[in-house]
Symmetry: D2
Subunit: 310 residues, 4 copies
């Protein structure tokens, strides 16, 4: 019975533990705790290895309070390529342009909120007025951008150069971390582009990003990906590896609550990704099924500690 | 206690029931059954009313066997605007070009599958060879398309005109039903566009669709949306209504297993959408939390019966 | 590539289909639809075979409107052994004693409901007053029961003989279908037993049922189980097979939305049950991940049709 | 817009944070992170207040590695009343009698495992041989117990006195913390009781516990409950408060992934519990939707730190 080598070690939990000590205890446990500890091991190995580091960011992570974590990872070189949704960029811009998200309640009278011009994102409230500021500022940026043909990534870099460094988009521009956002039209940025292009020219090519993105994949030595949620960011990152000669990702971690049995890509297992060649046969891959607003901070706090320890 | 007006009617289930009779019994029940019956009422009202009918199609619905249902809805005028993912279009093209999806198993040796060149989508198997056909055919179509500036919708119409009517994309082209697919780069279509544009010109503008889409929204009298899953299709459809003067959707139905508490748009409730003005204050809106491969066929079978009846 | 034998057949959905025709179409599809069709095949085989038929009923299925379905299965010999929760029996008794459950709303002011003495079960409302009737009636039944040592099953048979046949508990008593309810103290029946035993004697032995239940398992030729939800009913049925010499269940179906990754028995897969010997190595076993208020009626309508057909 | 008082504070995550510092950062965030921080506030208030502290323990928490955490809470007076499942007690006894649970894999060949006599619980492996030891030891304990009428709680105390203090059941016996387990027959303890009572007498009354449990509820000044998962432990704890004159719980926390929309009690919201009077109108109540093997250790580490700080 060769499988019976690692007894579950009952967790020993005390006051004043560091997050790293906590996750070490989780490493002896099973289910989500065991997986979170394993995710840390994979993440540490991925960041120490000579990998090109992809980060897929879906979900409303900026409204939830994860913005500074992403910024920090960019600034410290832990993200080489960011793929995200339009929504996360919009909410990032709202904050860098002076707006805030607010703690509200998940059980709310949404019709009353609508009358008060407050938009709800589960238990986060966002005043509609913040979008007015966002719109004005973004139209100014659009006006300042040279309207020659560009890719979505180039557009985002242009925007990033015109906003403060205390933002995901600004930090990425300063650190030359490309941001890809294939579904950018599906966001308030898309809505402003609609307004802007009624009177101005702005040519952003849908497929132009593919060349830059595929070049990154081709030129990578080894590759790793951390997925927060699924959606377009997850699929866009994974699909690229199918067509490269080097094979799938060497490291892959997903933090999600999505489940596989209805067949969507968001909930697909990383094993399933191996059948496609998106994730390598020998890859270290782990999924932690839990709210990413809990698991991402833990993962980042601990990996930072381990990398500093060196 | 004015709330206590409608006693739960215990379902009476017999042999030889029609689907319509089944859903009628569900109408007296609660939880998912009650919601499915309510969704039918909303869908019937939406299709009978003078509405512009949006359909948001996410998830791997074509591999699952829902393709002909969507085609039928297009052909019979029950979909005015389709918003979907690149994946569903890719799998639609694979089938119209002679390929098949196969029933496999969800517990599989994915590394062995990879070696046999079989891609897995939960319990569906797809031979890698089908992608070779897909790629060749799609490059032929790209070559035939005039490379002038176009929108994603126009590109899809161009493709649709060059494939058989026994497909979603072909049927839509014939019936002048626009297909929007904001994240098209995030699919095998995007990958082929990358190959094609290494040697050819193809200008597909990211934001050009916004004008056509917003015009549809502005010109609509009343509006309804059926969402299968969430993702980009759901958000793209909903966000448009924020900026129209007429207010949010009058009818909205979502068939999903996604849940609200991690804040993603896929799982957001339709009540939450009311706070944003995406769904109208007076709208008839219902979410059925269950696998859409079960609920969509039921909804379509019953709404067809009711609409034929009078 | 021997796996590629069964192409997904795109579902053909029309008006006026019977439920059986619908599920036949699902049989060519994948994900939840394919599994539901497979569950029907297993259920039909299980009912046609010479099996002892167990039914595990968890969740609030009586408030939801599934009561008459269960009653019908008992009356027609499709359930040999029922294992359920105290709650389902309480709600069954509430209805047979003249009470009703009411359709309410899932978004409600629960403090206001409390003040109006209305109890909420998701979107079902239940007036507190119905419990007063329930309590009075049940105390009368307790008073009439001979207080000699008995098992929980015997207590439930005693109750069943004193209520109308238009109830689960009454129908089971008339058809000699034993009802097991290991956690009966965990229900309003338990609360009334507490009141009753303050002044009366009532000896119900916790473990006495084990003998009758294990005898049923030992004497069974072949065995099948349908699980609606998980909980105590699922575990109690499955654990018995571990200690019988005949090995695990020959047929097993579960209708649930519970998921495996947090390790609870409710969400455990039927494959996992094979490692324990609860389900046989050669068993036909299938899980349908969807709301049972939708899948159970479909399963029952179709299996009834197929069984009548020949 | 009085709701907009608390801006989301973007989390600041660094190396070497303590768990308490981490949760403090979560306190500025939303979704699961915000709720976990709120749960800590409620738990701290509940433990500092003059409350009777109930703990509902469902799910396979002992195999997962949470056993020592529960033991510690009992030893330090943070649990006054434990309500749990038979399974957790069985796995606790397996460990105190020298057995181990082992880290395995969730994707496994369950038929092969069965042949190797290894039982699987998601990603935990348990050798069947451990049950042989368990059975022998438990039969010895049963033989030593005086067979007079007793409650389930009394039986568990009798067992607890005969096992080491390094177990949940042993620690509870030493600290006079009652353990209630209404569904005890639904476990390997029930199976052994079946063997034992074939030749010996053992009278354990199903309803006898109600008197002791209700006395605790009646005598409580203020009350709080922490629920890990749902199931019988959650319902049994909550239902008691309906019949006490003092009204519902003053504090309630649940750590679960179960969801409300299929109507089961496990996933029911704590708001729903207010309509029944199970949770008080003014109660501080919060649900954290995430794997409890991750959230429970965090909650315990931080509450211990705060209480020590005093």
């Amino acid at each position: 019975m060769s499988e019976l080598r690692r007894p579950v070690k009952q967790m020993d939990i005390k006051a004043k533990m560091t997050v790293d000590e906590l996750v070490k205890e989780m490493g002896g446990a099973a289910f989500g705790a065991g997986r979170l500890a394993e995710a840390l091991d994979v993440y540490e190995a991925m960041l120490r290895d000579d990998t090109t580091k992809f980060f897929g960011l879906a979900g409303a992570m900026v409204p939830a309070g994860m913005r500074k974590i992403i910024m920090g990872l960019i600034e410290d070189g832990y993200i080489d390529v960011l793929v995200t949704t339009g929504a996360n960029l919009v909410h990032d811009l709202i904050e860098v342009w002076g707006g805030h998200h607010y703690r509200g309640t998940s059980v709310a009278d949404d019709i009353e909120l609508h009358r008060q011009q407050i938009n709800r994102i589960f238990d986060v409230f966002l005043p509609e007025g913040h979008f007015s500021t966002f719109e004005k500022k973004l139209l100014d940026v659009f006006a300042a951008i040279d309207a020659k043909d560009m890719s979505i990534r180039e557009l985002l870099t242009q925007i990033g150069r015109r906003v403060g460094a205390d933002s995901i988009i600004g930090a990425a521009a300063r650190k030359n971390v490309p941001i890809f956002c294939p579904a950018i039209a599906d966001s308030a940025i898309g809505l402003q582009a609609w307004l802007h292009t009624q009177t101005h020219k702005l040519n952003v090519d849908t497929f132009k990003d593919m060349h830059e993105f595929m070049d990154i994949c081709y030129n990578a030595n080894r590759t790793g990906a951390l997925f927060v949620g699924g959606g377009v960011p997850k699929n866009f990152i994974l699909q690229s590896m199918i067509v490269t000669p080097k094979g799938g990702f060497d490291y892959a971690i997903q933090l999600t609550i999505d489940r596989p049995e209805t067949g969507g890509l968001s909930g697909a297992t990383l094993d399933e990704a191996k059948s496609w060649g998106k994730v390598g046969e020998e890859a270290r891959a782990v999924t932690v099924y839990a709210d990413a607003t809990i698991t991402l901070p833990i993962l980042v706090a601990t990996v930072r500690e381990r990398l500093e320890r060196k």
